[in-house]
């Protein structure tokens, strides 16, 4: 019997291939969007991890030559023999590939070949012709060598790991080392560095926290997008499954009337749906791969700019990713079909099995209540919620609540339209549109969510850009930033600056605990640079003068929020020194608190701290010449001088990339939502025949009916868009003011971008029009016999 039932179930798809295609495509698109975003996220993260692991940057202190030259190998051996646990690295480019030579015996665990696949062994790595470990695409770009190549996916992109001996050979740098990784655990009784190798300097692990925070922020964008696309996808899946059931109610009734047990029927339908879900999931994951592969180069470029490290532009297939994509498809199908199967199980055998759109309106009241509850939950969480997970729950409640509120609000709006209508056709148009709302509601909810996501995320990204560029302008007010290695060099820098009439702003800093929070205390010289450029979030009048007199301090937003401070609060800076807060400044990307004091007060309080970092104010056109002077006269290494213009240009290009990605994802979500609408309209087109036929029979031509259908889609999309805008802004607010604060401790100011919203609205209308175009065209070409058939035979 199972076979017979299956063949009956399949016969429906055979007779309506379009339904099958729409079901599969809906599922596949939802999955594709979800898994595409996930893939991008996963790939970027994997790339960082590999980069960090391969290069040891950001984790370990390093020793380099003061003059930036190579370190002789004998110096390395001398350091080891003096008890310094350091590991040599030599680097260089071979063709376009970065060759990193390491010594696996002394390297800290976790550096180097991330996994030695393909039967590699230490002997083959360090002796003989050696081995080159890299990703497949890197190996392909590598010139021919006699070494064995080993595909190692977890090595950083565009980087090849080789033994240091092989690296020296390949790069023609025998006996030379570029840098030494300092292992975290060093023996006691180690002689000081300058007595062993005077030309070398040890640098602390680079303070990558700021950059890392920014990339985290970027990932939060993507994760939010992933979440949103997941919700959109779920709605689409739900819609597709729900419609598939609606269409088959008569068949189910017939099968049951023929004696098929309900339990078995439901079981078989579940199996059928799981199979379809799996097939659609596979297609979706493959599509997601295409999406990710198309977007990844831009994401990679963004992250390369932000992080300074390579993220591969090439996608690796990760099993976790396949599995999560399939789980979304099958799990989404299960969630979506549970309700439908439940209602099928309770369907009375003799009830009308007709899939009539208005039947769906029944649950309207319950859903409205649910929506209200969810929105109230979101509101409550916004006010009283604590922690990141509360923030995400709030996002979810806001989105789902907003989506569920759509049908009742649409009905309300359409009633309003109907009340204003004069002509019979117009009245029929509004009434009929209202009647279609339940049938289209899932597709419209998907559209609503897609638009909401777009408004929310683009507002967030744009606000982020505006804020951050402004922040860079204030923070990087000096034209050049220089780090000295010691007090003597600091004096030489000051002397060179003085000789050239350049203003020196020393950056005095000490780590401390302020108000129970880890914080940095800065001493700032009273200078127009600060007054002109720094914008305070909140401040007492004339805060800079109060600061200059040493009668107050500025704190950053993080400290202000975490320690629950306020303007005027007395802050204990050090024993015997307590000053009131006179201003609060934005400090985006910084994980710890900051306090700014006047430099005179600072020096009095911390006499042992000497400034080793300086901001230098000079004519931007003279920066290059001054750099050269510092290099020649004060011995400052190039790497110790940072040109503000370069940082700014880099940051701006990063944001441009971010936009490319955001825009692409916007268009994709809209396309998916548009597809959901097309699907629903196609299904409704068949179901609505009994309602259209009488209107046609009363004299409204098919062409007119089709035009009205098209107009109806546009009206519904426009109304949905009208709701999406406030919901999207609420979403953006939640991301900026709740999630960001919980995740990073700073709040991004929210800006509005009306032109962007207008463009998004136009895109949504376009998507809706495109979705309605085909069903309308089919209606305009529908043979009159089919319309007449409604009267002849009630199916």
């Amino acid at each position: 019997m199972t076979r017979t039932i299956f063949s009956a179930l399949f016969s429906h798809w055979r007779r309506n291939p379009l339904h099958l295609i729409t079901l599969l495509a809906g599922l596949a698109l939802g999955t594709a969007l979800w898994s595409g975003v996930q893939a991008i996220n996963a790939e970027a993260r994997a790339s960082y991890d590999a980069a960090a692991a391969t290069l040891g940057e950001g984790t370990y202190a390093q020793i380099v030559a003061q003059d930036g030259a190579a370190i002789p190998q004998q110096t390395y051996v001398g350091l080891r023999r003096a008890g310094w646990l350091v590991s040599p690295v030599v680097e260089g480019d071979l063709g376009r590939v970065r060759i990193v030579g390491i010594d696996p015996l002394t390297a800290p665990r976790g550096i180097g070949p991330v996994s030695v696949g393909g039967g590699a062994d230490l002997g083959a790595f360090v002796t003989g012709t050696g081995q080159i470990l890299a990703r497949a695409d890197t190996l392909a770009a590598l010139p021919e060598t006699d070494a064995t190549v080993i595909i190692t996916p977890d090595v950083a992109p565009n980087t090849a790991i080789v033994d240091i001996g092989l690296a020296q050979r390949l790069l023609g740098r025998a006996g030379q080392i570029d840098r030494l990784i300092v292992l975290p655990e060093q023996p006691i009784k180690r002689r000081p560095l300058d007595t062993i190798a005077p030309g070398l300097i040890e640098t602390a692990p680079p303070d990558s926290s700021e950059v890392a925070r920014l990339t985290d922020s970027f990932h939060l964008n993507l994760t939010a997008f992933g979440l949103l696309s997941f919700v959109v996808g779920l709605f689409i899946v739900h819609g597709a499954i729900g419609l598939a059931f609606e269409q088959r109610r008569p068949m189910v009734r017939t099968l049951r009337a023929l004696g098929v047990p309900l339990r078995r029927l439901i079981w078989l339908m579940a199996v059928e749906l799981a199979t379809l879900g799996l097939i659609a999931g596979l297609v979706g994951v493959a599509l997601g791969y295409v999406v990710a592969a198309a977007l990844l180069p831009d994401v990679a470029a963004t992250l390369r700019g932000l992080y300074g490290a390579d993220v591969s532009g090439q996608l690796t297939l990760r099993p976790a990713w396949w599995i999560s994509g399939l789980a979304i498809a099958v799990g989404g199908t299960a969630v979506a079909s549970a309700g439908a199967l439940w209602s099928l199980a309770r369907m009375p055998l003799l009830a009308s099995a007709q899939p009539r759109a208005w039947v769906m309106a029944r649950q309207g009241v319950a859903l409205s209540m649910l929506s209200l509850t969810l929105l109230m939950l979101a509101g409550g969480l916004a006010i009283w919620g604590q922690g990141l997970s509360a923030g995400f729950i709030m996002l979810g409640a806001l989105l789902v609540g907003g989506a569920l509120a759509l049908p009742p609000l649409l009905t309300l709006a359409l009633r309003f339209g109907q009340a204003r209508a004069r002509s019979p056709v117009a009245q029929w148009f509004w009434a009929d549109t209202r009647q279609q709302v339940p049938g289209l509601s899932l597709a419209l909810m998907a559209l609503l969510l897609a638009m909401t996501a777009n408004v929310g995320v683009s507002t967030m990204v744009s606000s982020f850009r505006l804020t951050f560029v402004g922040f860079l302008d204030q923070r990087l007010a000096s034209e050049l930033y220089v780090s000295a290695t010691d007090a003597a060099q600091a004096e030489r820098i000051a002397a060179v600056a003085m000789a050239q009439g350049v203003v020196v702003l020393p950056i005095l800093a000490v780590d401390a605990k302020v108000a129970g929070q880890p914080a940095e205390i800065y001493g700032a010289r009273d200078h127009a640079t600060y007054r002109d450029n720094w914008q305070l979030l909140r401040a007492v009048p004339d805060a800079w003068s109060v600061l200059a007199r040493g009668e107050g301090v500025l704190v950053n937003e993080q400290l202000y929020r975490r320690a629950d401070l306020d303007l005027g609060t007395m802050v204990p800076i050090a024993p015997g020194l307590e000053l009131p807060i006179v201003g609060i400044y934005g400090d985006y990307g910084n994980p710890v608190g900051q306090v700014i004091l006047n430099d005179a007060v600072f020096t009095r309080q911390f006499p042992d701290v000497t400034a080793l970092r300086f901001g230098l104010r000079l004519d931007p056109s003279k920066v290059d010449a001054f750099r050269a002077a510092l290099r020649d006269q004060a011995g400052v290494a190039d790497s110790a001088m940072v040109d503000q213009a370069v940082i700014k240009a880099m940051s701006l290009s990063v944001f441009e990339r971010t936009f490319t990605v955001t825009t692409a994802l916007n268009i994709l979500t809209l396309a998916v939502a548009g597809f959901a609408m097309l699907m629903s309209l196609l299904t409704l087109a068949v179901m609505r025949l009994p309602q259209l036929a009488p209107v046609w029979a009363l004299g409204l031509p098919r062409r007119r009916l089709a035009a009205l259908d098209l107009l109806r889609a546009v009206v519904l999309a426009a109304l949905t868009g009208a709701l999406a805008l406030p919901l999207g802004l609420a979403l953006a607010w939640a991301l900026l003011a709740v999630v960001n604060v919980e995740a990073f401790g700073w709040r991004l100011p929210m800006y509005l971008f009306p032109m962007d919203y207008l463009r998004l609205g136009a895109l949504a209308l376009l998507a809706a029009t495109l979705a309605a175009l085909w069903p309308a065209w089919r209606l305009s070409r529908m043979p009159p016999t089919q319309l007449l058939g409604v009267f002849r035979n009630e199916r």
């Binding site: 692991a53 190998q73 004998q74 051996v77 080891r80 023999r81 003096a82 008890g83 646990l85 010594d103 696996p104 015996l105 002394t106 665990r109 976790g110 550096i111 180097g112 070949p113 991330v114 996994s115 030695v116 590699a120 062994d121 230490l122 002997g123 360090v126 002796t127 003989g128 050696g130 977890d154 033994d163 240091i164 001996g165 092989l166 020296q168 655990e185 060093q186 023996p187 006691i188 009784k189 180690r190």
Partner: protein, 345 residues
Amino acid sequence: MNVKLIAILLWLPFQAMAQGFAGLGTDAEGFAQPRPDTRLQFPADHGPHPDYRIEWWYLTANLTGPDGTPYGLQWTLFRSALAPRDGQGWDTPQLWMGHAAVTTPDAHYVTERLARGGIGQAGVTAAPFAAWIDDWRMEGPDLDTLRLTASGPDFAYDVGLTAMGPLVLHGQNGYSVKSSAGQASHYYSQPFYQLSGTLTLPEGDIAVTGTAWLDREWSSQPLAQDQTGWDWFSLSFNSGDKLMGFVLRGSSDYTSATWITAEGTTTALPDGAFTAKPLSHHSVAGRMVPVEWRVRLPEKDVDVEIKALNPDAWMATSVPYWEGPVTISGSHDGVGYLEMTGYDD
């Protein structure tokens, strides 16, 4: 990265010395093999033998502080060859590993160093004698007068050694058989060092004196395939006599021992003459290790109990094993060192 995998790949050659002997016992292609007719030449044989797969300079010492507290000290330099050749520069197949430890009655400090030969970071020269890895040194004009240093993150030591007796050759003129199938090594010792110097421990510097025992051994295929580990004893009795004995655990145990008189004359004892039976086990690093033994050598009327000074003397190194000072009681009294390998969890 897969630390474990790397660690295994990295220490494959070294595993022959401590544990996981399977697979390495038989594959010694291209490496020189110990031969019974080889006559050891000094000082040349104090230096490395790169044609052999593995080799070590292994010093253990029983020490006493000013207040009578007993201590143990270990300094070991292992050489492990990936291929039977020497060479200068990075691509030498000669790898070096150093282990240093200090054992007190209630603490065990241990650290490890790794290096490649060929660049000067680690190595051994025979005359003047010098063995080193990084800042760790065992060096002197000759093997009779040495200065020994090592340092780790929480301890260091700097001691002087003076040999008060002759070198001792084990087995047949230094040819020491390790299994009934004929696996063997070249093996000699200097068990007569007097030691004095300073231990630096977290609680401060401690002046110590005592005795030390240096083992020199090299081979390419030291164990039979079925042998999984060993228990090695170096015992110094208060009578002045000394006993080196080991049990190689396998499908059937193989024992060997050397009786050393106070004057340095030796008696090589065949398989079965020396026996060692565990009396009690101790849980350390997640495995059960025997830390009390009954050791018998009927031929010399030896029937003693061996007890670890600190049962937690676990060497948590790339290749982990147990190594620590012991006290002797029974027919003879004294102190010594115990090494136990192959106790996998």
